[in-house]
């Protein structure tokens, strides 16, 4: 379970998160939607501690993410993160990309790490690309590689930050398919997305972000077909 309590975050003068309360239950898929600059990415990075916070609290399975004594590297193993830019490691093959963290972080043997990597690459449909380098893969394939790389740590949660926004339109589908697959397997996911059909079809709840506050949250049929917030109504009509 991921719990955000009265979470506040500023960049200098600019307050980006103005007291967010959100609980994500195990097995739940929550989509975050909202205008550019509303603080969606920042929220994700406060969960995996890529960003510090100024007030409030984030707990993952009861562990206070931003407490001094927290072993953040250990906690991050639970939190798979996929960025808009896939950041595949260009000097390593697909197999090595995925096997690296199990090797050096969880100290698996070379053989074990390779087995895990192969399993996850098959999982995301890259079973025939094990020995390819990122430069030999398309954007969609590299993003699936990034997903496999995160899954290899056997995370309990997956955080997606606009995982399909940097892709050519014809490559978006293959990545969304994998995300759908993970959701159907019961993975707990927080998904920042501009793909309204994905938010509608896959999420248990949709949260609308407006200038650092959670303006509206609920099941997609409620939030997306019967929005209350006028800004959300406008947002949905422009984007969808």
């Amino acid at each position: 379970m991921i719990v955000l309590e009265n979470l506040r975050k500023s960049f200098g003068e600019l307050e980006v998160l103005k007291g967010i309360n959100l609980t994500v239950d195990n097995g739940e898929v929550v989509s975050l939607i909202g205008a550019s600059g509303s603080g969606k990415s920042t929220l994700l990075y406060c969960i995996n501690a890529l960003e510090s916070i100024h007030a409030g609290k984030v707990t993952v399975d009861g562990i206070d993410v931003h407490a001094k004594g927290t072993d953040i590297n250990k906690l991050r193993q639970k939190l798979g993160t996929v960025f808009q830019q896939w950041n595949s490691f260009p000097h390593l093959t697909a197999l090595e990309n995925v096997a690296l963290a199990p090797r050096v972080v969880t100290k698996k043997s070379r053989k074990e790490a390779q087995e895990i990597a192969e399993k996850q690459l098959v999982h995301v449909g890259l079973g025939d690309k094990l020995n390819h380098y990122p430069s030999q893969l398309s954007g969609g394939q590299q993003q699936r590689l990034a997903i496999a790389r995160a899954l290899a740590m056997e995370p309990k949660y997956m955080l997606f930050d606009e995982a399909t926004s940097a892709l050519d339109p014809e490559l978006v589908g293959e990545v969304l398919d994998i995300m759908r697959l993970l959701a159907s397997e019961g993975m707990t996911m927080i998904v920042v997305t501009h793909e309204m059909s994905f938010a509608r079809d896959v999420s248990d709840r949709v949260a609308f972000f407006k200038q650092g506050v959670l303006a509206e949250i609920g099941p997609p049929e409620q939030v997306m077909t019967n929005p209350q917030d006028p800004d959300l109504q406008r947002f949905l009509s422009t984007i969808g």
Binding site: N73, L79, Q85, N87, F89, V104, A150
Partner: protein
């Protein structure tokens, strides 16, 4: 021109010249290896948030890059004597060349690190890697790839610059050549032969660097 070439003294001295070449190689290798390490440390000093470290790094780099190498060798060989520190020719030359290499490499590393997108480290850290693991397995291999060309040039430069060591009394290849020259006065022959030896050493070093660097460039070779 009625100069008579006499190569016999050179041929007789060849074993000694080759032995001295090993000193040249030894000095260059040690200075280069240490320069690579200290250069990395200097890069981190200069990128540090601590002013003291930044100042230390910048001062080193500025002096190393903006004073003559010969002057640097003299400082280590004679200059330190003022402070009661007496280094052997070998140590002084290695130290001075290391000082110089580190300064140049610090600057080269900066370019290399800038060439690696910030997302690489971020991705590594979100997988649970520590700063050091991310550096070791993700960032540094890409930095090395980016600086490999300049690094190879630097190595060639050290080999050639180590000849300045003769002025601090080091019997490396140039020192040895000068020694034979002063005994036989076959100046042209000796320095011509030595130039050829330097050329060969530099070429062999270049080839070795290429071979050594091959694993770094696996991904480039795989390109369709």
């Amino acid at each position: 021109m009625d100069y008579q070439f006499h190569w016999r003294p050179v041929i007789q001295a060849l074993p000694d010249l080759l032995k001295a070449s090993l000193v040249t190689l030894e000095v260059s290798l040690i200075a280069m290896a240490l320069g690579l390490m200290f250069g990395l440390v200097l890069y981190f000093c200069r990128a540090s948030s601590l002013r003291l470290l930044r100042g230390f790094g910048s001062t080193w780099v500025e002096i190393a890059r903006n004073t003559p190498s010969l002057f640097q060798i003299f400082v280590f060989y004679w200059g330190l004597g003022e402070f009661g520190i007496f280094l052997s020719s070998f140590t002084a030359v290695v130290a001075a060349l290391t000082f110089n290499c580190a300064g140049y490499m610090a600057e080269t590393y900066r370019g290399g690190f800038n060439a690696v997108p910030a997302g690489q480290d971020k991705a590594a850290r979100t997988l649970g890697m520590t700063k050091l693991q991310s550096l070791r397995y993700v960032v540094l291999p890409q930095v090395l790839r980016a600086i490999y060309g300049p690094m190879t040039n630097q190595f060639t430069w050290v080999i050639l610059a180590s000849s300045l060591g003769m002025l601090a009394g080091l019997r490396e290849l140039s020192g040895e050549t000068q020694y034979f020259n002063s005994r036989t006065f076959r100046t042209f022959e000796f320095f011509a032969a030595t130039a050829v030896i330097y050329y060969l050493i530099a070429k062999i070093a270049l080839i070795l660097m290429r071979l050594l660097g091959r694993p770094l460039f696996r991904a480039e070779r795989a390109r369709p």
